[in-house]
C-alpha cells in the first residue's frame, strides 16, 4: 500500500502545509498584482517570497548556492524529509521530480546551452545534495506531471521495487512561462474564478511541494489506491469538448464510482478547461459529488500543482473539511456539478484528484482513508 507519510507545500501562502492550510481556511488568496515580468500586461500572479527561501536555505545549506527553482524545491524537500525517517541511501528509496520547465529562467540570462538547463541535471544535483543514491526520475508531462509522478510512485510501491518514494513537484513563474500564457491570452486580469460564470482565464502561480510515499503506514491514515492517465486525442492546446481523456482516466482509476466523497478538480478557470471537467464528471455520474478547485488560493503552479493539490486533498480528508472554491460565485459551466462555495465539514473516506494539460493529457488519482 502506498501511504502518504510526510509532506510540505511552499507557495505564496506560506512555507509549510499547515501555514498554507490556515490561509486557505480563512479564504485568503496569494494571487496579487505584480510588476515582476517583462511581458505581463495586467494579470496578477501568485509569487513565493524568495528572500525568505534564501534566508532559510543559508542556514540549512550554508555551503550551497541555488537558483530560484532549486531553492524552493530543496527547501520543500528538506522540510518534508525532517518529518519522516527516510533512508535516503537505500537502494529501495527513489526520488521523483515533477516539473515542466525547471531552471528555464537561466535561458533568459547567459545560460544558452548550459547543463543547468537540463532537467535531469537539476534533479541529480538536488539528489546529490540530499544523498539519494538511486538516480532520480524526472516527469515532465505538462500540467499533469505532479499527478503522474504520484501514480508512478504508487505503482513502484505496488510492485515492491521501492519502499519509499519522495515526490517533489516544483515550477517558478518565469518571464518564459508568463510570456507563453500571455501569448495564449489565457490569463485573467483578476485572481482566477474557477467554475464561475464570469471566469475568463487562469492565474499563474509558483510553488514547490514534497510528498513522501511509503510502503509501511507508520502513522498515516491516507493512501493512494489507484490512478491512471489518458489522452483526448483531440487538440494539442485545448481540452476535448466531451471530456474524453479525463473520462477514460477517471473510469480507469475508480472501478466503483459509488462512494466518492470529494473531488479536487484541476479547475484552472479557463472557460474550456472548467467546462470540460464538468462534462467529464457528468458523464461519469459524479456530478452530485462535492468538487472544488484550489487554484483561486495560489494560482496554477504547473508541475507542482498535482503534488500541492493532492497534499491539500489528503489534509482535507484528515480534518474532514472541504474548502470552498475561492473566486467562485455563480454556476457557469457546461454541465451542472456540485461546486463547493463555502467551507464544509464532511467525513471523507474516498477522494479524487484530477488534472489535465496541454498535449491532451489527463490524469486521475484516488486517495482513501482508513475507516470505512
Amino acid at each position: 500500500m502506498a501511504y502518504l507519510t510526510g509532506d510540505n507545500i511552499i507557495t505564496s501562502l506560506g512555507f509549510d502545509t499547515n501555514e498554507v492550510l490556515h490561509k486557505i481556511e480563512s479564504g485568503i488568496t496569494g494571487i496579487t498584482e505584480t510588476q515582476s515580468f517583462k511581458h505581463l500586461t495586467k494579470a496578477p500572479v501568485s509569487l513565493v517570497d524568495f528572500d525568505i527561501v534564501s534566508k532559510e536555505l543559508s542556514f540549512i545549506f550554508p555551503e550551497s548556492s541555488f537558483t530560484r527553482f532549486e531553492g524552493i524545491a530543496c527547501l520543500s524537500l528538506y522540510k518534508a524529509l525532517k518529518q519522516v525517517d527516510v533512508d535516503l541511501e537505500s537502494n529501495r528509496t527513489l526520488f521523483i521530480l515533477s516539473t515542466t520547465k525547471g531552471n528555464i529562467e537561466l535561458l533568459e540570462g547567459n545560460e544558452k546551452s548550459g547543463k543547468n538547463l537540463l532537467l535531469h541535471h537539476t534533479a541529480q544535483k538536488i539528489a546529490n545534495l540530499f544523498g539519494f543514491v538511486n538516480q532520480p526520475i524526472v516527469i515532465c508531462n505538462a500540467c499533469i506531471s505532479g499527478v503522474l509522478a504520484l501514480i508512478m510512485a504508487k505503482r513502484y510501491i505496488d510492485t515492491g521495487k521501492f519502499n519509499t518514494i519522495v515526490v517533489a513537484g516544483a515550477d517558478v513563474a518565469s518571464d518564459f512561462v508568463v510570456a507563453g500564457f500571455e501569448s495564449f491570452k489565457s490569463m485573467s486580469e483578476q485572481p482566477c474564478k474557477p467554475f464561475d460564470s464570469t471566469r475568463d482565464g487562469l492565474s499563474l502561480g509558483e510553488g514547490a511541494a514534497t510528498l513522501i510515499i511509503t510502503k509501511e503506514p507508520y502513522n498515516s491514515e491516507i493512501r493512494i489506491t489507484a490512478g491512471s492517465s489518458a489522452n483526448d486525442a483531440n487538440h494539442i492546446s485545448g481540452p476535448s469538448r466531451t471530456g474524453e481523456g479525463l473520462f477514460i482516466a477517471t473510469a480507469n482509476t475508480i472501478k466503483d464510482l459509488k462512494d466518492i466523497d470529494f473531488i479536487s478538480a484541476h479547475g484552472t478557470a479557463t472557460p474550456y478547461n472548467d467546462d470540460m471537467e464538468s462534462i467529464a464528471l457528468q458523464r461519469l455520474g459524479l456530478d452530485h459529488v462535492p468538487v472544488n478547485s484550489f487554484k483561486g488560493y495560489f494560482g496554477h503552479t504547473l508541475g507542482a500543482a498535482g503534488v500541492i493539490e493532492t497534499i491539500l486533498t489528503a489534509h482535507s480528508m484528515l480534518s474532514g473539511t472541504i474548502y470552498k472554491t475561492l473566486g467562485y460565485d455563480s454556476p457557469g459551466v457546461a454541465a451542472p456539478i456540485n461546486i463547493v462555495n463555502t467551507n464544509i465539514k464532511k467525513t471523507l473516506f474516498r477522494s479524487l484528484k484530477m488534472a489535465s494539460g496541454f498535449g491532451g493529457c489527463n490524469a486521475s488519482l484516488l486517495l482513501e482513508r482508513n475507516g470505512r
Partner: protein, 217 residues
Amino acid sequence: MLHYYLKEMEDKELFISHNISLTKGGVLFDGQIIYRNNGFQDFAIFSKELYKKIECNYPKFYKMDNLCKLSFLAGELLVKRSKLSNIAPEKIALFFANSGSTIETDTKFIESLNSIPSPAIFVYTLPNITIGELCIRHGWKGENMFLVQSHFNPQDLIDHAKYVIHEEIAHACILGWVEFFAPDNYQSCLWHISKSFSKGDRLLSETELMVDYNMAL
C-alpha cells in the same frame, strides 16, 4: 505478497513487435534499412523528403516543431508496418523519454520574446506534446508519460509498460526515445510492445531496447 507480485510481473514477459529508428543516416525498421538520407542532408530537407515519400497528407505536420516531426514520421512508419490498428485506441499507452526535453524549441521561444511571443511556438515547449501529436494523428487515448533522463534508461519505460499491461490498463504500449539537439544531431526510436507473442517478435528487455537505440544509421 509484494514480492510475489513483482515475480509474477517479471514472469509475464512482453514482446517487442516492431521498432523504428530514425537518425540523420536514415530509417531502420526492425534493423533493416528502409530509407537512406543520402548525403546526410539537414533535418529540414530530410524530414520533408520523408514526409512526401510517406504520402500521408497531414498538413499539420508543417506546424510541428522538430521534436514532434521526428515522432510523427517515426509514428507513420511504425503504424504502416504494425498491427496497432487492431487494438482499442484507449488501450494503447505511450511512454516516452529524452534527455534535452524541448531545449531546441525553448531557445526559439526565448528568441520570439524580442518581438511578439508566439503561442504556436510556446505550446511546443512541453515534451509531452510529441505524445499528444501522435495521439491526435492515430486516435490513441491510452496512458501518457514523458520522462527526462540523463541518458537512455529503458528500465523505467519497461517497468511502466509491464505494469499497465499486467493490470489490463493497456493492451499495447508504444515506447519512445525522441531527441532533437541540432539539424544534424537527432534521433527518434519507437517500439511497439505487445502482450502476446507473434512470429518475429523479440522478448522485451533492457538489452534489446539498448541494441535498437544504439543501432542508428
